[in-house]
Symmetry: C2
Subunit: 478 residues, 2 copies
């Protein structure tokens, strides 16, 4: 496990065309992003995977703070009775909860839930803190672990414990709370596209797919390379549901006690799964520069000849000073082995540097996303590397967009939806708005309503033929 | 709770000389660092408290990475059976563990512990990952929540859940593992002194006070303003105890299978408690600039007159661009109210700026640590603020050092130890090394052995009069 042998990695990773799930498992384990924890359904996020998460955190955290949010930390354990205060919420989450019944050698008077999400405990504290209209809005985020006991688990995509951020805000009006809900959806979309290079479709979710306890849920959906959709983030307009359940009230200017309007929103370590499946190829990961733990790897060629190692070390120093995350692979493996290893690990750029290159004052740069190689003069290599990193970031988004847009089709009936999703497409279709038709689509095509699509409403529901209320993106989903 | 009224805060905070514990409680609640969670013994770290933790994290994380450590994330839940693998470890931690017995609506086959510390699960994974001597050293840290069910709790100092970092490393030799143990103790000390402005005494702990499962524990002890000691961080040399328990083995160069040597080390949100009690005064917090959420607060005087608010806003902009964390208090409270509020919150510098100051091209700067006020010319205010922040940081450490050094006394017998600690001192005394004498000191003085002190061994044990093996710092402790 710890040392890879010198075989060709291409042979070790399952064929993504033939067995996409096995390809995924091979990639996450072999690149050491993650390992299975001893308790079923748990994962250990290894340093290479965690470094991606740290980059994601930094990018998002900057955006949250720039939009006026503060971080805090709320307790892991929530009294079970809190969940029962919001009827839909308890129905949605109770079946997945892990429960602490004993502590300090004694049985507890009330069992405690490990948070599956924290609306209830934020609600409880907001009720205590909020007194006057002057205290509003309250805009707090937390970075935390949460736990949802799942039957079928896969690293990053669905695990009993995962890491996430959850924003919880309280406002004085419906308009302001809805604006927050939509703003954060916009922040997520901008982040997904500009940092993860993943184009996403954002929109409202159906009643069936919404968060338990919300008035309305909005999601962003990303297409994976097998044509399935991955819900990469959600924002919830909670109306006064939790304000009522937890008595989140304030004294308004007019002297009246009023209930606040609340929102919540979150993204999780699932995003790492999205990165893998939106960009990866048969050689392994392809990471966008903005979140790649290593942006450039330098591989010395004929490392023992002349001053190769010195020049490589100088180049490393230079790039580091220029703010590039760079790794010099000075291990005793062969260049070919190193090429495979770092391609598998998805490093955006590889610089190859040997005695002849140094003589000629150049280096070869390999782009992981396009597999193209070019010679670059050593004396302008920093700016060239920076330009190339920017180009990779941009081109990866564009390539993902082209891939996805080529796989969005339209359907006017159930057969069309089935045909579309079986071919690995997102299918746009009209929907009357009734639960029966939505359930029928799921039963017959294994596709679910992802989000309402923008644009004009199509004329009829693909199932019942009645007047359509919405155009919906249907897809099979993770 | 949410809005403070305009009373004088000095009257609202208990007298620190008369009732230090109440002073502490008043300060942590009134400055909104923390609140009590709904489950007994838990805390909500509020934005102002969490911002201190973020600054602590950033400073430490940089130091960990600079010394070759990587971050990762290991699961919260640990099979109970893991704890029984290391005999001392289970004895030390089992009584404090919170246990999950039910999840997903079913009773679990094996109860799961919420991690009180993660040696066992790191050990389990290191055993799987470690194969060859080439894989060593393994140097991983994690930032996580942990849980220890405590009977008596106080925010930051002792809570059932707290946040911390825990480093876990594996090495090929005793020397290297011991070097890591001492290096990290050095990192903690440098951080405590240069960032928290808290002088610490580092040294080895007695067998009685060591970590359950360690060969040797080293701690850093800080003096609080009541003369009690706070253990602010520990590093543990674990020898091969956990390597044996979890089979952490590797194939060495010579073809033999060998056990690794491991270490662990951690600091927690306790450090925030240390900051409060090492520096605070009757007006509230005094925060060192390096970890203060707000380093400078600007208070406009006669804010509605002339261009006061514009000049204040410009100044804020200027200081922000210079990398200073600055807050402009443009609320409608009176300047006096704001002075009290931000003094209580421990902001290192306050800038007062009114119409006459603007006319004269100057501002008044108030130092929270010395309570001194000085006039500064507006056109060189950025550099002056930076100099003052550096001076506050340095002077706070120096002041704390003088306070502490004036309260280290020597004793040659039990009565001397009792007298010393009753007067709020650290007491240095000789100790023969036997458990009976250590227990007797605790029973009769309520002081514990904090760490072995540097320097020559005194001649005799303060209890039994036999030859002393160590000089020990005895103190009452948090």
């Amino acid at each position: 496990m710890a040392k890879e042998n010198k075989q060709n990695f291409v042979e070790q990773i399952a064929d993504m065309e033939k067995d996409f799930p096995q390809w995924y498992t091979d990639v996450v384990l072999k690149t050491k992003l993650v390992d299975y924890g001893p308790v079923k359904g748990t994962m250990v996020i290894r340093p290479y995977g965690y470094a991606i998460w740290e980059n994601i955190q930094r990018e998002l955290d900057n955006r949250f703070k720039a939009t006026g949010h503060e971080n805090a930390y709320f307790p892991l354990l929530i009294p079970m009775s809190y969940f029962t205060k919001e009827a839909e919420h308890v129905e949605g989450f109770a079946p997945e909860v892990a429960v602490v019944t004993h502590a300090g050698g004694e049985e507890l008077a009330e069992p405690l839930a490990i948070r599956p999400t924290s609306e209830t405990i934020f609600g409880n504290m907001y009720s205590k803190w909020l007194q006057s209209y002057r205290d509003l809005p309250i805009k707090i985020n937390q970075w935390a672990n949460v736990m949802r006991w799942e039957k079928t688990t896969r690293p990053f995509l669905r695990t009993s414990e995962f890491l996430w951020q959850e924003g919880h805000t309280a406002h004085s009006s419906e308009e302001e709370a809805m604006e927050e809900t939509m703003n954060m959806l916009g922040v997520y979309k901008e982040f997904a596209e500009n940092c993860l290079a993943i184009p996403v479709i954002t929109g409202r979710k159906t009643e069936k797919e919404k968060f338990a306890g919300a008035v309305a849920t909005f999601g962003m959906e990303a297409m994976m390379k097998d044509g399935k959709s991955l819900q990469a983030g959600t924002t919830h307009y909670l109306g006064q549901n939790f304000a009522k359940a937890f008595d989140i009230k304030y004294l308004d200017k007019d002297g009246a006690q009023k209930l606040a309007y609340t929102t919540s929103w979150g993204v999780s370590t699932r995003l790492i799964g999205a990165l893998i499946m939106a960009h990866g190829d048969q050689r392994g990961l392809i990471l966008p520069p903005k979140v790649a733990p290593v942006q450039v790897v330098i591989v010395p060629i004929a490392a023992k000849k002349g001053n190769v190692m010195e020049v490589c070390a100088e180049l490393k120093q230079k790039l580091e000073s220029a703010g590039v995350r760079v790794k010099l692979d000075d291990s005793d493996q062969s260049p070919g082995w190193k090429f495979n290893e770092w391609e598998m690990k998805g490093v955006p750029l590889r610089i190859e540097l040997g005695p002849r290159d140094i003589e000629e004052g150049k280096a070869l740069i390999f782009r992981r996303d396009t597999l193209e190689k070019q010679a670059v003069a050593l004396d302008c290599i920093e700016s060239e590397v920076k330009n190339l990193l920017a180009a990779v970031q941009k081109d990866m988004l564009e390539a993902a967009r082209v891939r996805r847009d080529g796989r969005i089709v339209y359907a006017t009936d159930l057969a069309g939806i089935l045909d579309g999703v079986e071919k690995g497409n997102f299918v746009k279709a009209g929907w009357c708005g009734c639960r029966e038709c939505e359930d029928k689509i799921k039963a017959e095509t294994a596709a679910t309503a992802r989000v309402f699509a923008e644009g004009e409403t199509s004329k009829t529901c693909a199932v019942c033929g009645k007047k359509a209320k919405h155009i919906v993106i249907f897809a099979r989903a993770y």
